[in-house]
Structure formats: C-alpha cells, structure tokens
Symmetry: C2
Subunit: 108 residues, 2 copies
C-alpha cells in the first residue's frame, strides 16, 4: 500500500498525470488517470490512462508500441496531480501524431 492517497474524489474521479523522461527531463504528454489507471500503472510499471473521449481504460502504447515504462511516481502536495517519470528511450514517440512529445505547438 502507498502512504500517499490520491484524491480522485475531489477531482471528479480523474486527475492529471504528467509524463516526463526521467533522464532528459523532457515533458512528453499529459493524460488523465482514474483510480484504476493509477493502480495498474503502479502494479505493471507501465502507464495507463483513462480516455475521456472513448470513456475507457487505455494502456498507452498498446496499439502503437510506444509503451511508457515507469521509473518513479510522485504525487503533488495536494494529492491531486501525478508525475510519472519514465525510462529514457530515444526511439519513443509519445504523441499520437508521431511526434516525440505532445507539446510541440509553441505559443507565439
């Protein structure tokens, strides 16, 4: 059991989870986790999200192969955001567009 309890209730069942390359610090994507996605991520050490559009549990990379392998997980001070630090993999493209990171749209 974890000493940290994520406050899913406060957040309507879903909390934001940021994915960061543990070696480079690069932020690769942001998804939402419900309690089940969070627990499966911990037990399998691979990242699961809740898909808001499809309304179902979703293992990242299940079809694309871009599995996110967890190195360490942190909760924030209020227990309502999650940081997923993952294994560095130079060949990983975390974004569904094929980009390495989802955050490629620079605001001018």
């Amino acid at each position: 059991m974890n000493e940290v309890e994520i406050d899913f209730e406060k957040m309507g069942g879903l909390v934001p989870a940021v994915v960061q390359d543990s070696e480079t610090g690069e932020i690769l994507m942001l998804g939402f986790q419900n309690a089940e996605a969070f627990e499966k991520t911990i037990s399998e050490k691979e990242v699961y999200f809740w898909s808001r559009s499809r309304e179902k549990l979703w293992k990242k990379g299940e079809t694309s192969g871009n599995i996110l392998r967890v190195v360490e997980i942190f909760a924030d001070c209020d227990d309502d955001s999650i940081l997923l630090r993952i294994e560095h993999d130079p060949n990983l493209n975390a974004c569904h567009t094929g980009a390495r990171s989802c955050f490629f749209k620079k605001i001018s």
Copy 2:
C-alpha cells in the same frame, strides 16, 4: 494573436497547465488555467491560474513572492493542455508548502 487556440470549451473551461524550469527541466507544479488566466500569462509573461478552491483568478506568487516568469509556452497536440516553461531561479519555491516543487511525495 496566436495561431494555437486552446480548447477551453471541451475541457469545461479549465485546462491543466504544467510549470517546468526551462533550464533544469524540473517540474515545479501543475495548475489549471481558464481563458483569462491563459491570456494574462501571455500578456504579462508571469503565470496566472484559476483557483478551483477559491473560484477566482490567481496570480502565482502574488502574496508569497514566488512569481513564475514565463520563457516559452507550448500547447499539446490536442490543444487541451499547456506547458509553461519558466525562468530558472534557484531561490524559487513554487509550492505553497515552501518546497521547491509540489511533486515531492514519492509513491512507494
């Protein structure tokens, strides 16, 4: 005007915004922005959030002094998450607990 339009509507008016030290890559906190917080962050180059608990616009550091100075901003592929890369400041404590980062609770 920006070419990127954040999809606040899809997200019920609020999108998650991750704050990252632009020099070290450290993730310092995650907050939520509405359209007003986002626009003021761009125009003032200092970070604003929407406080869900207080239900008001909130300039980060207004009382604590821990102002977050924006270096660059990215939207994600779906235009529903924001990455705020800020100036490195070794004396900054982004967390309201006094910690440098809000993400200090390691999940065992």
